[in-house]
Amino acid sequence: MTTTTEAEPQPRPATGRGDRVFQGLATAAGITILAALAAVFVFLAIEGVPGIGKPASSYRPLESFWPYVGRLLFGTVLAALVALVIAAPFALGIALFISHYAPRALAVPVAYVVDLLAAVPSVVFGLWGARVLGPHLVPVHAWLDEHAGWLPFFAGPGSVTGKTVLTAGTVLAIMILPIITAICREVFVQAPRLDEEAALALGATRWEMVRLSVFPYARSGIVSAVMLGLGRALGETMAVAMVLSASPVYTLNLISSTNPATIASNIASSFQEATPDKLAVLIATGLVLFVFTFAVNFAARAVVARSEQRLRR
């Protein structure tokens, strides 16, 4: 990621017509990216903003836009956080395994398996989550209800179908595992070799070496990896739409059959039968999701950019 550029070649002045055309094309492509992002916002706003003030029947069983999107946004964040809590420790562990713990013969296949996980289409995850994982997690729901019911997250009653935020969060966790692992792995590998060997030479155990010379170096990388994973989880659609039993509510209860939907899953499941009014409402919720994920990703990338700058100094 950090390419050290030594003594840049003196770029030839773009004089010939061919050069000018080519540079124009390249610059235009760069500008297209900016234009595309702006266009996403503009078109969603044009079609979506009227969705904020539609007649109450478009928001049934609620009455107006903000309560409607508020519950959805809450559900989106809740499911994404559950996914993060499950995925982050595993991702850190796997990344460490690949970068520092595993023998090479094992590190490569494990890295490959995690990458393959990223290649599985989300609709297949949804199918698997709804038909296989959900029913298998029902006993877990019952167990949590029985033994951890004093926590507001596991207040119960435990769902008998497994179509809960807990299941959806688990599926999401599997889906965001590869991206968090990949980024963490990259920053772990980049930790300065000299520091590591110095730590080992001073008699540190392997874990102490990791804690003292890898983690401080990788801290901002981990933070941004986790936030990028959060961004992914916020926008994931099909897996949640196929797994979750959704109602428009605010609840922290992860294991009961009453769960808040996420913005993306609500769009996917309400879309087919939407009247033009409802369509505008759904696009408006999409705009909210766009702004929210944009903010999260923006923050994550800014953290990375700042730390890269700091390291360069």
Binding site: F22, I94, V120, P216, M238, G286
Partner: protein, 368 residues
């Protein structure tokens, strides 16, 4: 950092080495943990998953405790973390294996020649239907998406590497490309829908809209991978070309791009593999139909992921006289299509890696 390290453990025994657990200790604890939990499970009548979970837990507790008793706290922590890291990696393999096995087990009986060459027109109940129209749709929509994103992505990367160094615009583009990789796919779909609805009215659904949405997701991936590949091209090559009086654009076309071609193709194929399985954007803008449609610019077009979704949500009815446990016919089709889709994605991934290896620098230069 160094201050903590200086706090070496008090050397009570007057030996030169600290006491260590023997090398076979983890194996012994592992075997004991499996046996112990197996015995408990036999008494309580639990399943295999519980035995496994209990064994892992037993190992995670027992080994550090033993180490604590013999080796002291630092080693115990080290052993605990090592075990945890290994466990995390082991557990990570479980979902993929479970998922792939499930898809193959449910999907394989469904996939046959008819399934691959039939569409769903006039298919009622559990008659033989197929995914032909969905495969066509997926190929066309994805190819069109690639046709849009590859030129844009390629030129954008060229701009960033060759022309934009140090410019404010380039910094913004780099940053926003990164941000763009995080756009939720459904938002891309809604964008394409909003765009075409504005142009053609609220009932518009077309395959090309799906391509536009997918290219929004694909462009940043192509830019990132191409950019990385272009940066790998040594500056010596460029300078040699300039020294011969070749204009910059010809240098790029004749020297830089051919040198990094393998990596660029790999990147493009990986990007294709990433978007070919997207469902949400196609669901909203490409719609679904039962029949083959080869016109990207007219009417609805079913793609494989959308096909899977609809077979899952509208699987048809189970006849009343069917034996209990019979699934609705759509569920089997959904598994079959999922198997085909996974196969396509994995194949693209493998081919991409293969291409990357064939074109890897070194072998590339030998031939002309």
């Amino acid at each position: 950092m160094t201050t903590t390290l200086e706090e070496a453990p008090p050397r009570r025994p007057l030996t030169m080495t600290a006491p260590r657990l023997p090398g076979w200790a983890p194996v012994l604890v592992g075997v004991l943990a499996v046996c112990g939990s197996g015995l408990l499970a036999l008494l309580a009548g639990w399943g295999a998953v519980a035995v496994f979970a209990l064994a892992v837990l037993g190992f995670l507790v027992a080994l550090p405790l033993w180490s604590l008793a013999v080796e002291g706290q630092r080693s115990a922590t080290d052993r605990l973390m090592t075990s945890l890291v290994w466990t995390a990696s082991g557990v990570a393999v479980v979902p993929l294996a479970w998922l792939v096995l499930t898809v193959v087990r449910h999907g394989l009986p469904e996939v046959n020649a008819s399934f691959l060459t039939f569409d769903m027109r006039n298919v009622v109940g559990d008659q033989q239907g197929g995914i032909y129209h969905a495969i066509i749709g997926t190929l066309l929509v994805t190819l069109a998406a690639a046709a849009i994103s590859v030129p844009i992505g390629l030129f954008c990367a060229i701009y960033l590497v060759e022309y934009g160094k140090g410019k404010r615009l380039a910094r913004w583009v780099t940053f926003l490309v990164d941000v763009m990789t995080g756009i939720p796919s459904i938002v891309a779909g809604l964008f394409a829908l909003a765009l075409f609805v504005l142009l053609f009215g609220p009932e518009i659904r077309l395959g090309f809209g799906g391509s536009v949405a997918l290219s929004l997701l694909m462009v940043p991936i192509v830019v990132r991978s191409t950019e990385e590949m272009l940066r790998l091209v040594p500056d010596d090559l460029r300078e040699a070309s300039y020294a011969l009086g070749v204009p910059k654009w010809r240098t790029i076309v004749k020297v830089v791009l051919p040198t990094s071609l393998g990596g660029i193709i790999t990147g493009v194929m990986l990007a294709t593999a990433r978007v070919i399985g997207e469902t949400a954007p196609l669901l909203v803008v490409a719609g679904k139909t039962d029949s083959v449609n080869v016109n990207l610019f007219g009417e609805r077009m079913t793609t494989l992921p959308v096909y899977i979704y609809y077979q899952f949500t509208q699987p048809g009815t189970v006849p009343f006289d069917a034996p209990p446990g019979t699934e609705a016919p759509g569920i089997a089709r959904a598994w079959g299509a999922a198997l085909v889709l996974i196969a396509i994605v994995m194949a693209l991934n493998l081919v991409a890696r293969l291409v990357g290896r064939i074109f890897a620098p070194g072998t590339n230069q030998k031939k002309g």
